[in-house]
């Protein structure tokens, strides 16, 4: 069995007491981020974790990864070096930051850039973390768009179950990049106002930054009241930008996670939905849930609190969900007002008292990548 020991998070919601307050009462507002489009300076809502400048600089990202790791160490009174046989698993939609700094300069100057003669690549962050923490297990980096760190977590759990490692640190990483923001602007997927998951008037997502980490251990080595029960990860090829609108692909991955956990749909306490507030994906998600659940358990989206943190959301939203349940509730979905007529059960609109149970966490991404896992909190 796999224990979830605890997690830490850097996000726009601030420190844990502020986060709990915001999530309990459904209060959060995005900031803004400016970017240049041609000669025009335009501003988009954005959930940033601080207001420091964001050059594409690996040192900035390494700084956040170290900071979140230190927070986890303090929270769990843990010396990571004592973890021994530990793997590092990092998920991000932008693992190419490390090359980006060099490549961008080379493209701009049409030069070869002056860099140290050492290998750069997507695995750099995980490798550096492993060296710094002193982990000698595998250190893997995942890029499966918005399911990146959820997929990293599923593989970490599989390696724990397989006895390859005793502990796993799973990181979710998403930091502002002009390239990501402008890519989403080009795709016309961003809201200029608010994130309204599942609402009939939703008009797109708002991006956010998050750096998060969670520690998983083999239960016989480090027990916990939190357990990872199962995970499903499947793909569909309806469109490269997401799921089949009929919800069939989404339903399949949720059913796979339930089957793997040996649970029936009515045994779930709540669902953390992906809920990006994108017009097509929210409908597909609701249709997918409708296919699996005769009567839906309470469900909520965390995107109105920290934005869509893309590849980082797998771990970031797990940490937030666990913090809420530790505090005795599941959070409301902010900014929701009305469902489309074809759907019946709205997302949770008031915080609901919950201290334990089984929770499904769903993540869906570009490339038709669908991921769902189930965790349990015992009293």
């Amino acid at each position: 069995m796999v224990s979830i020991i605890g997690g830490a998070l850097l996000s726009a919601l601030g420190n844990p007491p502020r986060r709990i307050e915001a999530l309990r009462h459904g209060r959060a507002e995005p900031g803004t981020l400016e970017t240049m489009i041609g000669r025009d300076r335009v501003s988009y809502p954005y959930y940033r974790l601080d207001h420091k400048p964001r050059p594409i600089d690996p040192a900035v990202i390494n700084g956040y990864l170290d900071e979140v790791m230190e927070k986890l160490g303090r929270k769990l009174a843990l010396n990571p070096a004592e973890l021994g046989n530990c793997g590092i698993f990092l998920g991000s939609s932008a693992i190419d930051y490390y090359q980006a700094a060099v490549l961008e300069q080379a493209v701009m100057n049409d030069s070869t850039a002056d860099i140290e003669n050492q290998r750069a690549g997507g695995g750099c962050y995980a490798e550096r973390l492993a060296r710094r923490i002193g982990c000698d297990g595998p250190c893997l980096t995942y890029n499966t768009a918005c399911t990146s760190s959820a997929n990293a977590l599923i593989d970490a759990a599989a390696m724990l179950a397989g006895g390859i490692i005793d502990h796993a640190l799973i990181f979710g990483l998403e930091i502002t990049s002009a390239m990501t923001l402008q890519g989403f602007i080009a795709l016309q997927l961003l809201s200029r106002s608010r994130v309204r998951p599942f609402d009939i008037k939703r008009d797109g997502m708002i991006l956010g930054e998050a750096v998060s980490v969670v520690l998983l251990s083999r239960t016989e080595i480090r027990p916990s009241t939190w357990h990872y029960l199962s995970g499903g990860s499947l793909s569909e090829t309806y469109t490269v930008t997401g799921a089949n609108p009929d919800g069939s692909g989404i339903a399949m991955v949720m059913a796979a996670a339930l089957k793997d956990a040996g649970l029936t749909p009515h045994e779930l306490t709540a669902i953390k939905a992906h809920g990006t507030a994108s017009e097509a994906m929210d409908s597909a998600e609701l249709r997918g849930m409708k296919r699996v659940f005769e009567r839906l358990p309470p469900y909520f989206s965390l995107k109105p609190y920290i934005g869509h943190t893309l590849g980082g959301c797998g771990v970031a939203e797990l940490v937030l969900t666990m913090e809420c349940i530790e505090a005795g509730f599941i959070p409301p979905t902010m900014n929701f007002n009305q469902l489309e007529p074809e759907f019946r059960q709205p997302p949770l609109q008031q915080a609901r008292a919950v201290k334990s149970g089984r929770f499904m966490l769903n993540y869906f991404g570009f490339g038709g990548n669908n991921t769902s896992f189930i965790i349990e909190k015992t009293p």
């Binding site: 390696m159 890519g183 602007i185 499947l234 990548n369």
Partner: protein, 289 residues
């Protein structure tokens, strides 16, 4: 321990620019629209491994790359920084590593797990270790695992990024293995070491291997010529798999080393040795006669 049921080899040494793969892809019945060179390369290699096999729809795709789709990154950078335009939507989508997996799944009609993962030193070994664990755990029944690296359009810069010598000839490749827990009709058995080992452990391992007959060794490019010569002198019964003669450098060459051994041998055992800052990483392939 898992079984290799097929290999897919696409390995070239381009002399001037990235080769045009569209005709080859078309001949395979694959859709060229919206894909770029990196994606075409991936689909061609995966197609070759899947060719002649009826893959179950739930077959998983585990893909890795050393440097990824850097050409699309260059295009987006040019759009943003030089032309001052938004990136083309298709380029932005193709920048995500798993979009390539989408095109493979789409071409082969797959709906299983589809992941892109990498590792700083051992992208191939760690991808295969993940596949090995998932098959051993019963989480996956069939996995198409492969490594894709394209010829770099800025070769001098690429050599710096890869930390290799300025004179190293660059190649490109897309090499795939079809893996399953079933022995029946398998070509070979694959075993990936679960962790890095040190020099002393390597010596013990090689000594143990030397008791087997028909052992062949493949050295990764990071093993220096003098190191390789030392190993070969110490164990004169070992043969050397000179896969390097048919390829130029790219970071997922280890897949090519395994695949080319399987393609060229009807029996025998290959020990692939690679090294990183934490020590040596071993993989073995034993051909099923």
């Amino acid at each position: 321990m898992i079984y290799i049921h097929a290999t897919g080899i696409h390995n070239t040494i381009p002399t001037s620019g990235q080769p045009d793969l569209r005709a080859e892809l078309k001949a395979m019945g694959a859709d060229n629209r919206r894909s770029d060179h990196f994606m075409r390369l991936a689909v061609i290699g995966a197609h070759k491994a899947a060719d002649g096999h009826e893959l179950p729809a739930e077959t998983a795709v585990y893909m890795t790359s050393g440097q990824g789709n850097t050409a699309v990154f260059n295009r987006i950078c040019s759009a943003l920084r030089i032309e001052k335009n938004l990136p083309k939507p298709v380029d932005f989508i193709n920048l995500l590593s798993n979009s390539t997996g989408f095109y493979i799944a789409s071409h082969l009609g797959l709906a299983g797990r589809n992941i892109f993962l990498t590792h700083h030193h051992f992208p191939v070994q760690m991808t295969l270790l993940t596949a090995q664990n998932d098959i051993t755990q019963g989480l996956q029944q069939t996995i198409l695992a492969g490594g894709v690296d394209e010829w770099q359009t800025r070769p001098q810069l690429a050599r710096k990024l890869m930390g290799i010598e300025e004179t190293t000839v660059l190649g490109e490749g897309s090499n795939w293995l079809l893996l399953s827990p079933e022995r029946e009709n398998a070509l070979a058995v694959l075993e990936v070491e679960k962790r890095c080992i040190n020099e002393e452990e390597l010596t013990l391992r090689l000594r143990a291997e030397s008791k087997h007959h028909d052992i062949t060794i493949a050295f990764a490019p990071k093993i220096t010529k003098s190191q390789a010569a030392r190993f070969m002198n110490q164990y004169p019964s070992f043969k050397r798999h000179n896969y390097e003669a048919a390829c130029a450098y790219y970071e997922t060459l280890a897949f090519y080393a395994l695949n080319s051994f399987i393609a060229a041998h009807k029996k025998g055992r290959l020990l692939h040795i690679d090294c990183g800052t934490n020590g040596y990483m071993l993989m073995t392939v034993e051909i099923i006669p």
